[in-house]
Subunit: 116 residues, 2 copies
């Protein structure tokens, strides 16, 4: 169920994208294409410890607990979050490398400046 970007900064926009690579990358963008999930990332990243459990995230999002759990699972499966159990609670953390990989995928090819 979990996906993974094998390399840190694949060429992607730098050269012609195969459809399989495109689909793999599109999955990541699709996961970020939901305001609630961006807010989750933001909330978790903003914690002093860098980690947050589900119960801390429900109220600020204004969504039901199952829905929050669902979004966390989507983020986790895509590699945006790690989770760690501590007693009854499960703490989620943002994975910086995944965000960096996406960033790297958006680089354009070098171009000799100026053209008619």
């Amino acid at each position: 169920m979990k996906t993974n970007l094998s390399t840190c900064c694949p060429p992607l926009l730098r050269e012609h994208l195969q459809s399989s690579e495109a689909e793999q990358l599109a999955v990541l963008f699709r996961v970020l294409g939901e305001a609630s999930r961006l807010q989750l990332l933001s909330l978790i990243a903003a914690q002093p410890t860098g980690a947050a459990c589900v119960c801390e995230l429900i109220e600020p999002l204004g969504l039901s607990q199952p829905t929050v759990s669902h979004h966390l699972k989507v983020l986790y499966d895509a590699g945006f979050l790690t989770k760690e159990r501590r007693g009854t609670w499960i703490y989620y953390r943002v994975v910086p490398e995944t965000l960096q990989a996406i960033c790297g995928s958006l680089k354009l090819p070098d171009r000799k400046s100026a053209a008619p």
Copy 2:
């Protein structure tokens, strides 16, 4: 119909994301969350001139002309592409600033390293 990021690198993940900001950013990610659209960006960016007309994009994508036009419109409305008419053809170009803005939105808050 067109959206716009008012600033180049809004804070976003650096601090708590308001739901309106989150939705605005999510729209951009949603546009990229489709393999065909990533391929379009890749194909256009890979042109020697940096520009491509619709008819050049149909065959490599393997989609119908209306569908390709639709995806180009979505990319255009979101600010990922510009378009310019030259006679019968319409040339699309990638807007680097929009990609950079997305990149900037994925930066995490600075964190004092090491925590139990």
